[in-house]
């Protein structure tokens, strides 16, 4: 078994290009479970743990988050809480502090688990991932990065290096609806980001990837309860919800309608 610890992004990209089959490890919370349960058949690791450029957090202008920035830092950094409160909230309700101390923004996006919290808020906030390989760098909006259940549009030799989140133009709210215990994943995840008099509502954890309907949101009247209810009903109608151990499809559909209405009332008037 090999465990490589490059100290620069360039070095990591070269290692990945030379050996696309090697597994990149960030915080290791997701990979730790897979490996611990014997579900990973892999013995070559590229660990990002020593790459300090991936741990930078820039808060001048847009929020610039290195791929190795932990959930906990996004939850607790005062400027993030102040200027990107919806984002700090979404990262702050993931699992327990033990997981948030280790899990990274790059890991949660590359993992693409349908039942994660941060992706819906990142999509609502128009966040863009910087994706790099030895071939160059491209910018990918989060809605185009997550393709489906545990599936991304990353190529074998690509890494997420940074996530850029524009400065909000209005209130942002994340609502996590849990049906089991405090530290569980969401049954329904609803994020809303207000942009002046418009809003972007994104619903996660109910299907294979975060769902956003610009046409439905266009009808929004800020602060109007009937409008919020209609948009909730339209989202519930539009999304093909899945059923799992956290709730059936029919139950989720009910909750989507209610939670979308609530989030809209929170970001209005």
């Amino acid at each position: 078994m090999s465990w490589q610890m490059p100290s620069t992004v360039d070095e990591a990209l070269r290692l990945k290009a030379d050996n696309p089959g090697a597994t990149v490890i960030a915080g290791g919370t997701f990979l730790g479970i897979l490996s611990g349960q014997g579900l990973l058949d892999n013995d070559e690791w590229i660990s990002l743990q020593n790459i300090s450029e991936l741990k930078t957090l820039g808060t001048e202008g847009d929020l610039s988050v290195g791929a190795m920035v932990t959930h906990r830092r996004l939850e607790l950094t005062p400027v993030v809480r102040e200027d990107w409160p919806g984002l700090a909230q979404a990262f702050g309700v993931v699992a327990s502090p033990r997981i948030r101390n280790v899990a990274t923004i790059g890991g949660v996006l590359a993992d693409a688990d349908y039942a994660s919290d941060p992706p819906s808020m990142l999509v609502a906030s128009r966040a863009v991932a910087e994706v790099a390989s030895v071939r160059g760098m491209r910018r990918v909006p989060i809605e185009d990065l997550i393709a489906g259940h545990y599936e991304t549009t990353l190529a074998d030799d690509e890494l997420i290096t940074r996530v850029v989140v524009p400065r909000p133009r209005g209130k942002g709210v994340y609502r996590k609806f849990r049906t089991r215990s405090r530290e569980d994943r969401p049954t329904v995840a609803v994020a809303a980001a207000r942009e002046d008099d418009r809003v972007r509502v994104v619903v996660g954890a109910v299907s294979d990837r975060p769902q956003h309907y610009a046409d439905i949101c266009a009808a929004w009247k800020p602060g109007d309860e009937d409008s919020a209810r209609e948009i909730g009903a339209a989202y519930a109608e539009a999304i093909r919800c899945i059923g799992d151990g956290r709730g059936s499809a029919a139950y989720r559909r009910r909750v989507v309608g209610v939670e979308v209405r609530r989030v809209l009332m929170q970001v209005g008037p």
Partner: protein
Amino acid sequence: MRIELSVNGNAIEVDVEPTTMLVDVLRDHVALTGPRVTCGVGLCGTCTVLLDGEPVSSCILMAPLALGKQITTIEGIPRDDEVVSCFDRQHAFQCGFCIPGMVLTAKNMVEHGTATSREQIREGLGGNLCRCGCYTKIVDAIEEAAR
């Protein structure tokens, strides 16, 4: 691979597979049995250790990820520690199995000033399960330690 870890202030050299979990290194190579595996998937908190003062689940942390960090287990906490004394005084345990994780999590909350109300303490302990159901007394103990 040979790695050198810093455990409770001591440098420890071990030869492990990269996928060996930190909890197994601590228990099987360093003979520290305070951290213990129950769920093995990061949910319950009985394997809690501090990495540079922050609680993590050592049951899902591959050992090389702890390189260069200060690892603290319950064995590294002095007997006369204030949080430990409060658990004692409040009799905040029955079998004691979950207590190493509870104490380490509590210490971090007290140090960060995030144990200011019962509600906040309960929130902070969301990922630490006690099979004996001693929650009320555990919250009492942490409340006292934070005063």
